[in-house]
């Protein structure tokens, strides 16, 4: 089931029972409007804030940003497919390991 939203920060916050003001305090944001902007998808939180969300909500970043994760993963798989098709024979241990890694990405 593909995710329609790029992230589920609002849902994750509500599950914890925190208000936007609580969340702003926990994330170290100066105002709760920052949290509101993230939740309305007006702005994307930086990596440090995304990791803080993981700590606060106890959910992995990939799950919090499920829609974005799907898009990124699809892009990576496409590039891995290209790379694999352009790869030569895996005649050395290093090349065999590289091929296995590409195949793992495509699984």
């Amino acid at each position: 089931m593909p995710h329609k939203l790029i992230h589920y920060l609002r849902n994750a916050r509500r599950e914890t029972g925190f208000s936007q003001a609580d969340m702003a305090a926990l994330l170290g944001a100066p105002w709760k409007s920052k949290v509101s902007r993230y939740e309305r998808r007006v702005a994307l939180p930086p990596l440090q804030t995304a990791l803080a969300y993981q700590v606060v909500t106890d959910k992995p970043v990939a799950q919090l940003f499920a829609g974005m994760y799907d898009t990124v993963a699809e892009g990576v798989r496409g590039r891995a497919r290209d790379l694999l098709s352009r790869s030569g024979e895996a005649n050395t241990a290093l090349r065999a390991r590289r091929k296995r890694s590409l195949e793992r990405i495509l699984q």
């Binding site: 329609k4 939203l5 849902n11 309305r40 998808r41």
Partner: protein, 166 residues
């Protein structure tokens, strides 16, 4: 905890004088809910749709048998349906009378009791339970509309127990 039977992205909307009350389900799970007011039903719909890009919109059918909606609200509902269709979204219309009949069959005759039952199925909504209307002259709590929107969706698609679905 329950899940919606239909796993598509579903948006239930109940228009009110205070804006659009909405509930949003994705993959059968309740994801978002609230009331949005951006000034005018089309602007409100755009604001809600920006937050919740649904595949299906569930609205009340103002032309259904037993509908008691006033003419201005019928116009709002048809404008909302048109706005959704313009975006290529599937519109499901549900009769409010049928929803009420469904609750009555389960022994529920008051909106507040229906809201309590919905909150039992979707605990995330518990904090949003409206205060019961004690006197007839008191205004209805605005949060009732969120549960009305949820009622429309639940009536249209039904639910299964989370533990059974897993």
């Amino acid at each position: 905890m329950k899940n919606l039977n239909d796993k598509r992205a579903i948006l239930g909307i109940d228009p009110t004088k205070r804006g659009l009350a909405f509930v949003y389900f994705e993959g059968g799970r309740l994801i978002d809910w609230g009331i949005r007011h951006a000034g005018g039903e089309t602007a409100d719909f755009d604001a809600v749709f920006r937050l919740c890009p649904a595949d299906v919109v569930v609205l009340e059918d103002p032309d259904a048998e037993g509908s008691e909606r006033r003419p201005s609200m019928r116009t709002v509902l048809s404008r909302l349906a048109r706005a959704a269709e313009r975006r290529g979204i599937v519109v499901v219309k549900v009769s409010r009378y049928a929803v009420r009949r469904g609750w009555i069959e389960r022994g529920i005759t008051r909106k507040h009791s229906a809201a309590k039952m919905i909150a039992e199925d979707f605990p995330a909504l518990e904090a949003f339970l409206p205060r019961p209307r004690i006197k007839a002259y008191m205004d209805e709590d605005a949060r009732v509309q969120i549960f009305d929107a949820a009622s429309l969706v639940l009536h249209a698609f039904g639910t299964t127990d989370d533990s059974l679905a897993a």
